[in-house]
């Protein structure tokens, strides 16, 4: 379960929030001149990024305001939150070794964590 930092209320439990999917999708203003392919692209096609992803949340059981978040979908780490209408802050990297690969920490996939050598069961340390 995520702890989501609402930009208006502070960190709250994920159960208070509704999910709004991909952010920054502006409805085209010239839809009467668009082809079916262009329209399909707006209505249906999604980035579905593995890595740093801009998305919308609504604090449904709190202030009821919408906001944007940057989250690494390969680790679920929330990198930044920002208000609607603002551009996404830059400077974040996804930590993925390959496009379909898993980051060293936080993938939820212990098999890959062991394979990447980030977890050494003989070292006596905590699991990442």
């Amino acid at each position: 379960m995520l702890l989501i930092p609402c930009p208006y209320c502070g960190a709250r439990d994920q159960t208070e929030f509704g999910y709004g999917g991909e952010a920054h999708r502006a409805r085209p203003t010239d839809s009467d001149r668009m082809s079916d392919a262009q329209w399909a692209h707006y209505v249906f096609m999604r980035k579905n990024t593995k890595g740093v992803f801009a998305e919308r949340w609504v604090h449904a059981a709190g202030c009821r305001k919408w906001f944007n978040a940057l989250r690494n979908t390969a680790t679920d780490e929330i990198l930044a939150v920002y208000r609607m209408g603002e551009p996404p802050p830059g400077g974040f990297t996804d930590g993925l070794p390959t496009p379909a690969g898993e980051p060293a920490i936080g993938s939820g996939n212990d098999g890959s964590t062991v394979a990447l050598g980030a977890f050494d069961p003989g070292a006596g340390g905590d699991r990442p």
Partner: protein, 416 residues
Amino acid sequence: MGRYSWLSLLREGLGGHRGWGRAWRDAAPKPFYDAVIIGGGGHGLATAYYLAKNHGLTDIAVVEKGWIGGGNAGRNTTIIRSNYLYDESAAIYDHAMQLWKGLGRELNFNIMMSHRGVLNLAHDEGEMRQLKRRVEANRLNGVDAEWLDTREVKAFCPILDTSPDARYPVLGATLQRSGGVNRHDAVVWGYARAASALGVDILQNCEVTGLTVRDGRIEGVETSRGAIAAPKVASVTAGHTSVIAAMAGIPVPIESHPLQALVSEPIKPITPCVVMSNAVHAYCSQSDKGELVIGAGIDPLISYTQRGGFHIVEEEIAALLELFPIFSRLKLMRHWAGIVDVCPDASPILSKTPVTGFYINGGWGTGGWKATPGSGHVFADLIARDEPNAIAAPFSLARFETGKLVAEHGAAAVAH
């Protein structure tokens, strides 16, 4: 590679099981293949098997990032059914159902197929009308389906709470008797063994890191074990379909979500069938080991982490206990998630793409397991002939432009 039989079982039993040998070859990558299948799950291995068996295309590699059957093939709840509302869906899922029936014999591998019946419960009048409509639609499409009233449901699955004062009373249910469950590892290994015997190379720990496209035509794949050239490349990567498609610059209408499942401690046989409910949103069956296998809905957020939120588990268990109060003292043993690739119309994509020689099989969302043999069968046909057959045609990428969607959300039961 010897044939499995009662005789081989007897021989190995007496010999201490030391002579079984490998079920399939662990191949080394060659620089060139006639076709490369990306993804060594059930659908990918089935595609390779039918390409080799039905189309004589044996110079094939199945490349798998981890180990075969380690993704969604190993993470689903193995429910088999084909009682979908629309003609297009009934055609492909029932094609799979007919193949499931003889698959163990065909692959010479015990897939532990159990046609124990699938109940879809109705908890209110609207749902009852909708499910009865589905029974009639199924019958018109030759899919076995029947309607049970409350008493018949109780007789079929006695541990269900069918009392009239239940929070969500059971008003009736659809029953597909040919539905049931099977063994996911066995299906994956059965297909791998049969495909390998026909000459297919299965390459594990071989992650695709890029696609080579020149002048709108696929030329091969870059992998963690070197470049492989091939005139035909097919993506069968479930949750990572968007990632692979992006390597060829192809936008897809898919969003990837975690879908969680749970198993309980093993108990004596008590659940005689698969029980699914949309209104309370849970589904449950009992494995041959005795564990209850429990599933529910997806986590709402897009994620590639193979885990989900505990609040989803809480809802899932609350739903389950509405149906089966008898399970309230059971302990859960394991809990995991797989990444499902959901299309806006809850129907799959089996399609050619704007890149010549590159094919996509994905978007099965929360319900891909039941389609495994049918999906592989028609997708192999599409790759071999470069044209979709009548079953695959409605599931092209082009449907998102024409608007001819196969909208199975709700109609097919939200729970898969």
